[in-house]
Symmetry: C2
Subunit: 275 residues, 2 copies
Amino acid sequence: MPPRRTVAMGSDSDDSDEFIMRCLSCEEDYDGDDAGTCKECYQEANEAEEELRLEIRELNAKLSFLALPSPLLNPSTADLVLLPADEPSAAPVPAHKNILSPPWVLRSESTARREQSVTRSPVFKAMLENDMTESRSGTIKISDVSYDTLRAFVDYLYTAEAHLDNQMACNLLALGEKYQVEHLKTYCEKYLIAKMNWDKAIANYAFAYQYNCKELLHTALAVILENMDCLTQNEYYAELVDSHPHLVVEIYETYLVRQPNTAGAFNAQGLCRWN
Amino acid sequence: MPPRRTVAMGSDSDDSDEFIMRCLSCEEDYDGDDAGTCKECYQEANEAEEELRLEIRELNAKLSFLALPSPLLNPSTADLVLLPADEPSAAPVPAHKNILSPPWVLRSESTARREQSVTRSPVFKAMLENDMTESRSGTIKISDVSYDTLRAFVDYLYTAEAHLDNQMACNLLALGEKYQVEHLKTYCEKYLIAKMNWDKAIANYAFAYQYNCKELLHTALAVILENMDCLTQNEYYAELVDSHPHLVVEIYETYLVRQPNTAGAFNAQGLCRWN
């Protein structure tokens, strides 16, 4: 739509003399002060967005092609079982050596880069490729894990998906750290960040420190700093003081370094470690 | 930047009385006639694009996690070999039953949907799950295929990637059709469409018909129809007349139905089958 010009009567050079245009996207009228882009850029942005959506559809189709079903759906071809060491009566979780530790040989620099992307777990790889007990027996015992978590962990190695709640995200992240499954760690960390609130902030802060999750740690700390007035009332506060007093000290130091009246002194002492 | 108003001297209600704005995207000046979107929509579009790019990064990370290396890199864990039946001296191509025919059992409607996405090849699945010769011997012989194509085909089942040229795209598409690997068929079809030109149009048209590739067929036909004046000079024309005369008839019928002076008569006879 061409722009309309509204001219106030009797004031032909007045400020009320303005052009009204219609936005090609929201189809609402706007004036020059609210102008965004020219028509050409709008059309280019539309085409770029359509290309990105097409790329996403193609990537999703590729993922559907590459994802494997859980080995629990039919364990007959499994050549490996995983056992929760602390639940001797639990059923074994079936798996395949070639999925947990994909085969490869180093051939060139490009293959070396590829290795990084295809090694789902360097720990399983070392267990299964070298002549270790696990490789010979076809059994991997995993301690400090429930059957449900172990099953979800193995499923993730086939599907890159997991049904998470807060507890499962923490359990799987811990396994991801232990077996160096970086993709799973990131997946769980994102879930915990998305579900972060004041009730969970202190527990997540300690957890993030323990499992070396930088993004989660920063998010938890930000929530804590927004709630300093009720920090000591949080149900996990006393526990944190007992278990990780240095983390509590970090909270106070970071808080104070951000206060205008104390920041200079703290910075001068180089006390702020997190920022 | 706020809009500037340019007023032509002595013509205060003239058409040259116009507002000039600066596009927030390309940073060029534009006037009201070239206005695209309001500022709010521009900002929203920017955020939406950033989210799409983030989604693409996450999907690519997931793909890197799920892609498996070629089984040729280390054949020691293979429980299956594929042989090009027409090249008895060629080396066998190693593979894994659980990759070519992922295990699953039907459990629910949602599992049924999942089956569709995880069955890389329903043909291999039938061969390997039922008690057929291939399953018992661990050997699948494939006719009408070279070692290089077979190797690329197996690699694709692990990585969802292939190094294509025109010939390899045709060879792999044919194997995709034979073994019902739909994702590979689409992958090759897209390549052939992207590389389409007049020299390839007739050969691609016949190929697309033979392997039931609708998009490729339409693209090839469109290129042919744009070049009707030199159709009979194309090096593949005579060959097509010999091998698929009905396809040549289709070309002429489609061409004529699009001509204003003959369209009515052809449509009345219901002759157009492609549109």
